[in-house]
């Protein structure tokens, strides 16, 4: 190391020390997550009530397949949200295992949708549909909240954080859409309930490094 570099580093340390002010420590990820998730669920419930819950909801809640789908997506959104909060800390506080939980649940959901597509998918006519607008409304507030929370942290995995944010927000939005829209066909679900969140995820992935840069 040359004398010049030593001097530059010493000056840098001096300048960083000079800039130091007392900081409020980032709360534990769980303490950050709980208010977000309660807010997101309350918002989702309000939006579902506003749009009107589907008329065959009671029948659907007695259908094990529908219940499995809803609980799978809810767990996926919950685990991805938790994972996002832990990703806001550089070393994830040593809880890297949580990534595998969120990704496994996402993998099961993808396999579930893929299996149904193999059985009975037919490409629908894609046009403007109210489900697109509802998808934005269901997803916008949770997305905004989780992005703001993520920006306040310091992640060392910006792309993974974008992915987790998308899965969490998309999962909540998907539940909202499934509880308000009568269409159960896999083609409708893919093109109108999942596609908007895939597009959001693609944009978030492209911008991830810029959004969470520090």
């Amino acid at each position: 190391m040359s004398n010049k570099n030593i001097k530059i580093t010493d000056n840098l340390i001096e300048s960083l020390v000079g800039d130091l002010t007392p900081v409020s420590v980032l709360p534990h990820p769980l303490r950050r997550f709980v208010p977000f998730f309660i807010m997101a669920v309350v918002y989702l419930a309000s939006a579902i009530i506003y749009f009107g819950i589907r008329s065959d909801a009671m029948d659907k809640f007695n259908d094990p397949t529908f219940l499995f789908e809803m609980s799978l997506v809810f767990s996926m959104a919950l685990s991805a949200g938790l994972c996002a909060m832990w990703l806001c800390v550089p070393d994830m506080r040593g809880q890297q295992w949580i990534i595998s939980v969120a990704l496994s649940l996402f993998g099961v959901f993808t396999a579930w949708i893929g299996f149904q597509m193999m059985l009975k998918f037919s490409m629908p006519h894609i046009g403007m549909h109210r489900c697109y607008l509802n998808a934005i409304i269901f997803g916008a507030v949770p997305a905004l909240a989780i992005i703001i929370l993520s920006i306040r942290g310091k992640t060392t995995h910006p792309l993974l954080l974008s992915t987790m944010n998308t899965i969490s927000m998309g999962g909540l939005g998907y539940i909202g859409l499934r509880l308000t829209c009568h269409a159960d066909g896999i083609d409708h679900i893919c093109c109108y309930h999942i596609l908007p969140y895939i597009l959001f995820g693609a944009v978030a992935g492209l911008l991830g490094r810029r959004i969470y840069r520090w």
Binding site: V17, V25, L26, P90, T156
Partner: protein, 185 residues
């Protein structure tokens, strides 16, 4: 056993210093930064193909530690937190470096830019690339490299001229040559 004990003491003191720094204690913060600097370099040096990057990345890591100090939980060991930042900054630096190098190469290879104005294009592009690359080298290193490799002075003569040791001059010229090779692909 003694080594383990020292390691534990070291870790504990970094945690304590970080917590004090979070409260605004400048002396503790200064001690922390000074103590982690050799560790940062030790972690970085094994994974870098060019030793000249070491200081740049180490400085980036120090700035990142400063920016993210509030994200350190005092109940956790300090080293894993620091290691994540080191890894992140190294990857980020290398990504930017190779991205920049690819951009430079593609503009140098774009012969259409010179086709209408330059008679001897291949020579021009080669020389222009070398000139541009040399411009990016720090002053002292550039002078040593130019004296030894372009003007033909011996290492001893350059050492006398620059008031440096002969081995330091040789190392500098060697590093500059590697850096140029790296920039020029």
């Amino acid at each position: 056993m003694r080594k383990t004990q020292n390691k534990t003491d070291n870790d504990t003191s970094w945690e304590a210093l970080a917590v004090l720094a979070q409260g605004g204690d400048k002396r503790a913060y200064s001690a922390l930064l000074a103590q982690i600097l050799p560790y940062i370099k030790m972690r970085l040096v094994s994974g870098l193909s060019n030793a000249d990057w070491l200081d740049d990345i180490a400085q980036d890591v120090l700035v990142s530690v400063h920016k993210s100090l509030y994200s350190y939980g005092g109940d956790r060991p300090f080293k894993p937190w620091l290691n994540s930042i080191i890894q992140f900054r190294r990857t980020d630096f290398l990504r930017q470096h190779y991205k920049l190098r690819d951009t430079k190469l593609s503009s140098a290879e774009n012969r259409d830019i010179f086709s209408e104005n330059v008679t001897n294009q291949p020579d021009f592009i080669e020389l222009k690339g070398i000139e541009d690359a040399i411009k990016d080298i720090p002053d002292v290193q550039r002078k040593i490299f130019t004296m030894m490799k372009v003007e033909g002075y011996s290492a001893k003569e350059v050492a006398q001229e620059m008031d440096m040791s002969e081995s330091a001059v040789k190392v500098s010229a060697h590093r500059t040559a590697n850096k140029l090779k790296d920039i020029l692909g």
